[in-house]
């Protein structure tokens, strides 16, 4: 299973975190759930301009008051890609045609290791409460599947288009590394619950195929942005 494949790869990243001194929050573990809205950018945006909902979960370790480590899994689905609405020019008669049964969607599943840098030892607010802004840097593997089907084949011979001649359903499937940068504020409502508002920008070394008959060029690499909220539950030390 793809989640199983990606999961163990980032285990070693647990050990990246540098230490910066002692605090009562040091070594606190937690877990979180996240809901974001995700928007692809640049070339990928032309494929899926409306983006989609992103959900996920994470395991959190507050290494110290400044640094927090997250092992973050996310799932996103983009429905109704722009390919469904686009038309193509048929050379046989010079007319534009749509594919009424076209379907275009993209599914993402990622596992990444994130490192949160809380300004001014903001992680201590886990004990005292309050908001702690942070910067984030992350890296991990992103699995994606770009699916398309129901497209009328524009390369038909003759002068009359046959709407029943369809391209075979196709998929671009890859698992590629990516990096992310983000900014957020973690509000510690109590010693065990925090609400995290975050915006995160991702670059992934993936590629779609070209569909230039519909005006869609190859997207490479991928850029996307997701923003939303997550709830974190911390366990007592």
């Amino acid at each position: 299973m793809k989640y199983g494949k990606v999961s163990f790869l980032c285990l070693t990243l647990l050990f990246f975190i540098p230490g910066t001194g002692q605090s009562e929050v040091d070594g606190t573990w937690g877990m979180g759930v996240v809901a974001n809205y995700e928007v692809p950018l640049f070339a990928l945006n032309s494929w899926f301009p409306s983006g989609g909902i992103n959900v996920g979960a994470s395991i959190v370790n507050a290494k110290n008051a400044t640094w927090t480590f997250e092992l973050d899994g996310q799932y996103t689905k983009y429905n109704s890609g722009d390919l469904e609405k686009r038309s193509f020019l048929f050379g046989g008669d010079g007319q534009s045609y749509n594919s009424p049964n076209a379907n275009s969607e993209m599914v993402w599943a990622s596992l990444s290791a994130n490192f949160l840098y809380h300004f001014n030892r903001g992680g201590e607010k886990l004990e005292s409460g309050g908001g702690a802004p942070y910067l984030l840097i992350g890296a991990g593997f992103y699995h994606f599947k770009n699916k398309m089907s129901g497209l009328i084949y524009p390369g038909q011979s003759g002068t009359t288009i046959d709407p029943n001649v369809l391209l075979r359903p196709a998929e671009d499937v890859r698992t590629e590394p990516g990096v992310s940068l983000g900014f957020g504020i973690e509000y510690f409502a109590s010693q065990s619950v925090a609400i995290d508002i975050r915006g995160q920008y991702h670059i992934i070394w993936g590629e779609t195929r070209s569909m230039e008959a519909w005006g869609l060029e190859k997207a490479y690499p991928f850029h996307k942005f997701n923003g939303g909220a997550r709830i974190k539950f911390y366990f007592a030390n």
């Binding site: 494949k5 524009p154 390369g155 391209l167 890859r174 590629e176 070394w205 230039e212």
Partner: protein
């Protein structure tokens, strides 16, 4: 009471330890100062490399120097009466680098005892003037996924990931090109550019991973010590061991599974349903995809006497085949290397070593007979496999015999330190490469098919014997003239013997022969003996805040005897067959010379960052096979010239003439030239993190390329056929960036990210680049060099026939008319192809070559331009006493690689043609291994590797439909696809970085 005080890591900045660039090829040096606690120099202090007799005494300024130290890790001890001794541990010495240390001795009145400091290797070398990456033995062991020396090198920035070890779009050799990357072992050149596919990959893999002490990769900028190369240098230093016995044994098992994309070949749509497994083909399916793969490596080393140490090791494998082949396994192969090191005294060392590589290759019966596996020209009925669109699949093996190859090198290196500042090396070596054939059928049978259209076994006469021997003498003198001034000079002489005889009789009528040698197989043949000479000086000067590295090199090639400028010989009727060629005179060839200046400058900004600049010229002689090669072919039987009803000895092979576009050697060429510029920056910005950026530009001119040659003979007319002579007609550029970001191993983690952005363009052009037409004038016709036809003797040997006086007169007049016609073309600059007719050049008095230039616009080189390629390595390694027991003694590695596809021409619906790149290919490999201690000195390791962990399959389809409709498969309505499936499935997804996922299990034992 004495005690040891250990200080780990933090003393790096205090002691200012870092290596800097030296120029000793396979050895480094150690220098530094000995001071007291207050910083005063301590003249007379002794510095000793522990466990050796090597050392030095500090001078009046407290400075010491130890030259000629082999790469490795050492302990240094400084001592002086009245002071406590100090030991520096973990001092790394690298070939071609200077390691600088500083001792601070405490007075003996302060009872600290012996001070032991564990040094840490500095992340950057601040006075490096060229791009160079060094991988030491400990780094090699930390990347278990790199199974061979070549795979270790591929992880360095600037090195291609396509399996050819290109450096900055360099060429890798072959019949019509140079191998631009030089490979050496222990200072002995391996890449000799004398043909026989001396490709970099096979050369570096001739030394197994376990036999390597250190690998250095120079990405283009090279000191003057290195020459006859343009792309870079890969320098291998072999392991030595005289301290204690150690050894390694490793076994790798590759689990069964299909090693190619698509269906099992016996069920593949490629066969279009023709295969009948119930009748004629039943029992002929092989279980090629169920085979296990095996690899064994072992080495042992240690002392023979206190002054003599030895190392020996080897590797052999039986990998499972990708496709069915004659044995459904890898043919026999073996790599071995060995050396003995003798140190009779502290200032002298003698090392004798050698490598021996054997490959038992199955001959595929095709023209590219060096590969032994299917190639694009594998003939019908040649070798079992998927060649000939699957029609070779049901052959029982191969009918063309075997093609075993051996490469061997034996060498001796004497290093003698004359004084504390000066030493010299002398190297001699004998290398031999031989590729032979065995079990060769005497005749070729005709092609036959079975009822389903598949080819049936047949014998193919495909013989090859190729031999190269190289005898090398090299000497280098190095001297630290004073503290900031290190000079080196040397020379190198290599004598070659080049011999090659290939016969390919593809059918009972079609025959082809390639020869490299004097004579021919019928009357006897011997090799050509070119000699190369080289001399260089190099001077490294260190100033305050600036390091300047100046070098100058001179190279000379004496081709010796040759057929001269062979480009027009085969076109003349009196020379145009194998037997008529016996009359071509052997001449003493002109020498080729090259002078190559180089300069590198480094400016250390801080002790952790520097910027550098390098520029230089690099010359390389043509691959020597292309100075002497001849190719003939026939499609009919030999001729009974003297009509006696018998094909006599001198008539054998007289039907073989030069075929269309045949290759003929040419010694009238110049060395290829590359001018390179590079600017680099490295910065150890925090802790173990280093970022490096290099920008480079390479301009190549006079690259080898072939031009079409014609003769317009007044006797025979203008010949419609043409041959190819190798000439300096190609140009290329390569420019780009290399970016690396790394974390040196610390806190159990290391990583290395290497990214390359590279544009490679090439074209052929300029004057004389398109074709040559040789035109005789009356002056030539009237000379003794002109012949009109042939005559023969009673043995059937043909000779050039001198024209009669009347013939000469009429032919001379005709020749002048013809020449005037071509001259008018040149005077009027009449266009032809992308150029025009240009003024002639004189070949010999009265014989001219009228040329057509070629002025095409440089375009992206389809073979070399990979635009982006990158790798990410991630290593986790825990100590044996790690507190989380399951993770103790564990190493895990992840390597991700990517490369942009090669360029191709795309014609959009509207607008001009565009250059597009094929899709990106990526692969992720992972491994994990765990150590188990066995007693105090032995270690067992179990490991698992998963290649292409995510099963990444990359579709490399191109074409209008791919870009417009995203189509990689045939379009809708394709009858064959609808009936059989994807006929191209076996090859559609190859040529990427990843074959289907494979799992390797293994065990290693070390002591």
């Amino acid at each position: 009471m004495r005690y040891k005080l250990r200080l780990a890591y933090v003393l790096l900045a205090l002691f200012g330890f870092w290596p800097s660039e030296g120029m000793a090829g396979t050895v480094g040096k150690i220098n530094g100062t000995v001071k007291d606690a207050s910083g005063e120099s301590l003249p007379g202090a002794n510095v000793l490399i522990k466990g050796t007799q090597r050392g030095a005494t500090a001078d009046s300024e407290g400075y010491f120097l130890i030259l000629s130290v082999e790469p490795g890790l050492y302990e240094l001890e400084a001592s002086l009466v009245g002071y406590n001794a100090e030991i520096l541990q973990n001092i790394a010495v690298r070939a071609d680098l200077t390691t600088t240390v500083e001792f601070r001795l405490q007075e003996a009145a302060v009872e600290l005892g012996e001070l032991v400091v564990v040094a840490e290797r500095p992340p950057v070398e601040v006075d490096k003037t060229v791009t160079r990456y060094v991988v030491g033995i400990e780094d090699v062991e930390n990347v278990p996924l790199a199974r061979s020396t070549a795979e270790v090198i591929m992880l360095q920035p600037g090195v291609s990931l396509d399996g050819n070890l290109r450096i900055r779009a360099s060429r890798v050799g072959g019949r019509r090109g140079n191998n631009e990357v030089m490979v050496e072992i222990d200072g002995i050149r391996l890449a000799n550019n004398d043909g026989l596919d001396n490709v970099t990959m096979s050369q570096v893999n001739s030394v197994s991973r376990g036999a390597i002490q250190e690998v250095s990769v120079y990405n283009g900028g090279m000191n003057a010590e290195y020459g006859n190369a343009q792309g870079g240098v890969i320098s291998l230093v072999s392991r030595e061991n005289k301290d204690r016995y150690s050894g390694l044994g490793e076994y790798r098992l590759t689990l069964p599974g299909r090693k190619h994309w698509g269906s099992n070949v016996y069920d593949s749509p490629l066969l279009e349903g023709r295969a009948d497994y119930s009748g004629i083909h039943s029992g002929k399916r092989t279980d090629y995809d169920k085979k296990l793969g095996h690899l064994f490596e072992a080495n042992i080393s240690g002392p023979i006497t206190p002054n003599i140490g030895f190392f020996t090791g080897g590797t052999t494998s039986r990998r499972a085949p990708v496709y069915p082949n004659p044995t459904d396994s890898e043919p026999k192969n073996f790599n071995s290397s060995a050396n003995i090191t003798y140190r009779p005294s502290g200032n002298m060392k003698f090392k004798a070593g050698g490598t021996w590589v054997y490959r038992d290759i199955f001959h595929d019966g095709g023209r590219d007979i060096n590969t032994g596996f299917e190639t694009a020209d594998t003939p019908a009925g040649g070798i079992r496999g998927i060649g000939q669109t699957g029609n070779n699949l049901f052959l029982s093996g191969n009918g063309a015999g075997k093609n075993p190859r051996t490469d061997q090198v034996v060498y001796g290196v004497l290093t003698h330190t004359l004084s504390s500042k000066t030493f010299y090396d002398v190297r001699i070596s004998y290398q031999r490469t031989a590729q032979d054939t065995s079990d060769v059928p005497a005749v070729t049978e005709d092609v036959t098919r079975d009822a389903q259209g598949f080819f049936v076994d047949r014998n193919i006469h495909a013989f090859q014997y190729a031999r190269r021997t190289r005898m090398l003498l090299k000497a280098d003198l190095s001297s630290q003239l004073h503290k900031g001034h290190f000079a080196k000079a040397g020379f190198e002489i290599i004598r070659y013997d080049i011999y090659q005889h290939e016969e390919l009789f593809e059918t009972s009528r079609n025959r082809e022969i390639r020869l490299v040698g004097k004579g021919d197989p019928i009357i006897g043949m011997e090799g050509f003996n070119p000699i190369t000479y080289a001399a260089y000086v190099q001077d490294k000067m260190e100033f305050e805040g600036l390091v300047v590295n100046l070098g100058f090199r001179a190279d000379l090639l004496d081709p010796g005897d040759s057929f001269g400028r062979a480009m027009d010989h085969p076109l003349w009727f009196h020379y145009n067959s194998l037997t008529r060629w016996r009359n071509v005179p052997i001449v003493d060839s002109p020498t080729q010379k090259a002078f190559s200046p180089r300069i590198g400058i480094s400016h250390p900004i801080t002790d952790r960052s520097f910027i550098r600049f390098f520029t230089g010229q690099f010359h390389q002689f043509f691959d020597m096979q292309n100075l002497y090669t001849r190719l003939f072919s026939a499609s009919g039987p030999d001729r009974d010239v003297d009509g006696d009803g018998v094909i006599e000895q001198n008539e054998i092979m007289n039907a073989l003439t030069y075929p269309l576009a045949a290759d003929f050697g040419n010694v009238d060429v110049k060395p290829e030239k590359t001018t390179q510029f590079e600017v680099g920056f490295e910065w150890n910005f925090a802790g173990p993190y280093v970022i490096a950026l290099t920008s480079f530009y390479k301009d190549q001119e006079g690259r080898q390329g072939d031009s079409d040659n014609y003769v317009h003979d007044p006797f025979r007319g203008k010949n419609s056929a043409y041959d190819h002579g190798q000439w300096n007609r190609r140009f290329s550029t390569s420019r780009g960036f290399e970016l690396s970001f790394s974390k040196k191993f610390k806190d159990m983690i290391a990583f290395n990210v290497a990214y390359n952005l590279n544009w490679a363009k090439s074209h052929q052009g300029g004057r004389r680049a398109q074709d040559w037409t040789y035109v005789a004038t009356g002056e030539f016709v009237k000379s003794d060099l002109y012949f009109a036809g042939v005559t023969f003797d009673n043995t059937g040997q043909e000779f050039p026939r001198a024209p009669t006086a009347e013939e000469r007169a009429s032919l001379a007049a005709l020749a002048d008319d013809i020449a005037r016609g071509y001259k008018k073309l040149a005077d009027d600059k009449v266009p032809k192809f992308s150029g025009f007719w240009e003024q002639p050049v004189v070949i010999v008095p009265g014989l001219y070559a009228f040329n057509v230039g070629s002025y095409s616009i440089p375009s992206l080189d389809g073979g070399l331009d990979r635009r982006n390629f990158a790798s990410i390595q991630l290593l986790f390694s825990s100590p044996p006493d790690y507190h989380i027991k399951p993770l103790a003694g564990l190493r895990a590695t992840l390597i991700w690689q990517m490369q942009t596809g090669s360029p191709w021409n795309y014609s959009p619906p509207i607008g001009p043609a565009q250059r597009r790149n094929r899709p990106v290919t990526t692969v992720t490999d992972v491994s994990a291994e765990k150590d188990f201690n066995i007693g105090e000195t032995a270690l067992a390791t179990a490991f698992v590797e998963v290649r292409n962990f995510f099963g990444q399959r990359d579709d490399l389809s191109t074409g209008f439909r791919t870009i417009q409709y995203g189509l990689s498969l045939p379009p809708p309505g394709d009858g064959k696809f609808d009936q059989f499936g994807d006929i191209a499935e076996l090859t559609r997804y190859n040529d990427g970085l990843g074959r289907p996922r494979s799992i390797v299990l293994g065990a290693r034992f070390k002591f």
